[in-house]
Symmetry: C3
Subunit: 339 residues, 3 copies
């Protein structure tokens, strides 16, 4: 069970309740009345806990598990140990996400504005917001309903934030329009000047950065990630994007819907992603590129050309992933043959 | 036009005024009285806007542009559409920077110290400073005139900052001497201990870090960038350096004048750059190296040896860029021939 | 001598005192009464300063040094210039660390809680703590004795911190248990949600992150580094680990004792390090790997498989370092032969 100093558990739930809220099916209707008190891993779960099997690698753990119930793909149901109740789902991990959200809902918070918060009189906050200590909110800011602004956040003049957002501690926003249900983790930097200047031996001359950062709905931005505002056009993050920690997103970058950007990725100015692009950790993108919908970029890849929809690439400069792996294998073999 | 919630526009200006302030030439003296209200891209500009052409790739957009005026290289002036007024410049992007700065000057700020700022009585601030909410300024700190210290900044004991600096929100300075006209973006960390310790199986033993960070004039440091103080010598950033977001600069590193360091670069301890070195995004430098004046380091390169003045290198370990590209091409060909 | 605006020097010490506190031996007992006022480099030291020689590369500097005393390996003692007093040590850098710590001890601080700190009434602080301006401490937090909490730190509900810790300015902790003598540098982010969600074309679904971050004793965490909490298991950092700036540590990662993780390294979820693993700057680790005790990972390497104890690897995908260097040499030669 999760440490009660940090997490508050809901429930218990019957398996029928969990089936309903997650859209999964009871393998045996008779098991619907089984009461479950928590989620747990296959190894740690007991009779009152529900677990899940998402990856065939863990079938042995599944077979040995003492979990009272388990979420499993229908094709694997017959591998369950005797006495284990089953929730059937074609996407067990997604079903587990819903079940775990039921047991550990996002903590309710008490609305209110801490006395130490410094809020410009022209700022407007929706109902039910919680604004914690030392938050600074500038002129003309608009914040939707039920937002939670953690301590020491700084929100610059004119920023707009939708409903139900979480703005993590010590983060900083300026020149930004943020959608609904957006979660910014601590230390995020949004909307500062992009890296734009006219270089020259007599000194580099700053070019005013006149765009904004526009973030859609249901976006998460990881801790200490930086998203610069546009130089003229906007920097745009599409609905449902998941951005990890320490990512750099340059001015004018546009991400489509549902992109997944793993930690420490860097995306240079004006590069555009289609929808559902997945970029592995530490990958880098040169500027002014187009990366097609559904493209997958291997961790640490260095992308220097446009990438087609659905392509999977790796290496620096990035090539089709299969080619990159063959290059590595060939080089390895050549060196060993000489050894 | 830039979003008026975030940007305040100056002007209008006549083309003659823009020519004068930028040092560019009117192609036709009769156009000097043309009044311009804003800057815009070639695609978006109308009769009241001025745009620029910096890259031959965009000649078609230039020819199709409805901009009232455009900044262009004299060699391309004859490609302008009929009726477009021209400002001639051998460095159109630099001229554009000056024009855009005229329309969007750095916002004036009201001097004053917020009531919530915590300032040691021995600290000295120059005239015209703005110190925002929750700023903490330590003993003996000296801050020049007209500095803008954004909210939640922490400035440690003894730090010195020159005139006309901007210290971004939630940033942290200690053991540092900062020049004039320096801009630190939000979340910058300056002057913490370098990564210095005596390793050993009985535990690693911290070596006191006794140097400072010394930053010259006209330097920009990007969001969430970290610059450690020296171990004994100082860490030095030369005049006019432009440092992007999430860059790591280790103890004792020295950058010459006008270096450009793109996002997520890492420079290990005691490495020295000459003047005007350009390091591409995510490049890494081993420690104790010398990188000559004007050297160019390709993005993601891993530099493990000294680099001569004017050299351009790429790859890991870094080799001359042309050689690196040939390696990639050769490998690609070998793999395809086998396929 | 270190800048007195930032550092306070102790001493002077006799060479005999320094020998005793560092465990090194006087080469000549008669030199024990020599009084030394400071540490300095071989080049800068004068008669009142003590320096050290740790690397044979600097023997010429040692021979030319005017240092009053020097810490040196016994094998090199006969290379010392005439008149230089010697402290003999088989690990001169470690001995230097102790001597430098004697001259520059961690600054004493005055206990007390700043009036602007916002501390939940249920939080408990040990004796002798210093809590600076604008610190926010949540419900049920437990902080040991003699901790120094720098300005603008945010400590979430339930966090536990051991004795003698330093929590750097503007850092953020939640869902974390921290040992004794831990130093977090400014801007550190500990315990935020890991990057866990069920991907899907209908939108990515967040999976509650129910673990903690557990940090041992004597750990240092560099500026702007991010350590996510576990998804179910904990994220664990072993005793004595040294973690540099801008490092990313994903959910469920476990580091053994004494690991050294250089700047900008990224470690993906559920990867486990044994003891004393050393990871060079910008190296990346895929998830669910095991890296054996004493393994060494070259800077920028991309580790995609388990690494055995004591192995040294480089390149992406990482191979034994010697093989990686041979690959680079072979490629270089092939390209030149064709040139």
């Amino acid at each position: 069970m999760a440490d009660s100093r940090f997490f508050t558990i809901a429930g218990p739930f019957t398996l029928a309740q969990l089936a309903e809220l997650s859209g999964a099916a009871l393998a045996d209707p008779a098991s619907g009345s089984l009461r479950l008190a928590d989620v747990a891993s296959l190894e740690n779960a007991g009779a009152q806990q529900i677990s899940f099997l998402d990856n065939r690698k863990y079938i042995a753990a599944f077979q040995a598990s003492r979990a009272g119930a388990c979420i499993v793909h229908p094709d694997l149901a017959d591998r369950a140990p005797a006495g284990m109740a089953l929730l059937l789902s074609k996407d067990p991990y997604r079903t587990y996400a819903k079940v775990a959200q039921a047991f550990y809902p996002r903590p309710a918070f008490q609305a209110g504005i801490h006395a130490s918060a410094v809020i410009d009189p022209t700022a407007r906050l929706g109902e039910g917001c919680r604004v914690e200590a030392n938050v600074v909110i500038g002129a003309g800011v608009e914040i939707g309903a039920r937002c939670h602004i953690a301590p020491n956040v700084v929100i610059g003049d004119g920023v707009v934030i939708g409903d139900d957002c979480l703005i993590g501690a010590n983060s900083t926003l300026q020149c930004a329009l943020i959608g609904a249900r957006v979660m910014l983790y601590p230390g995020v930097r949004i909307g500062q000047d992009g890296f734009g200047f006219a270089m020259g031996p007599q000194g580099h001359l700053k070019v005013p950065q006149l765009g904004r950062v526009v973030i859609g709905n249901d976006v998460e931005v990881g801790a200490n990630t930086t998203i610069d505002r546009g130089a003229g056009p906007d920097t745009v993050i599409g609905d449902g994007c998941m951005i990890d920690n320490l990512v750099q997103i340059g001015h004018n970058v546009q991400l489509g819907r549902g992109c997944v950007v793993v930690a420490q990725v860097g995306i240079s100015g004006s590069t555009q992603f289609g929808d559902f692009v997945a970029a592995g950790g530490q990958a880098g993108f040169a500027g002014h590129l187009k990366v097609g919908t559904g493209a997958r970029i291997t961790a640490q890849a260095g992308v220097t050309r446009d990438i087609g929809a659905g392509e999977t690439v790796g290496g620096t400069p990035a090539v089709p992933r299969i080619e990159w792996l063959r290059q590595a294998a060939l080089l390895s073999k050549m060196v060993r043959n000489k050894g």
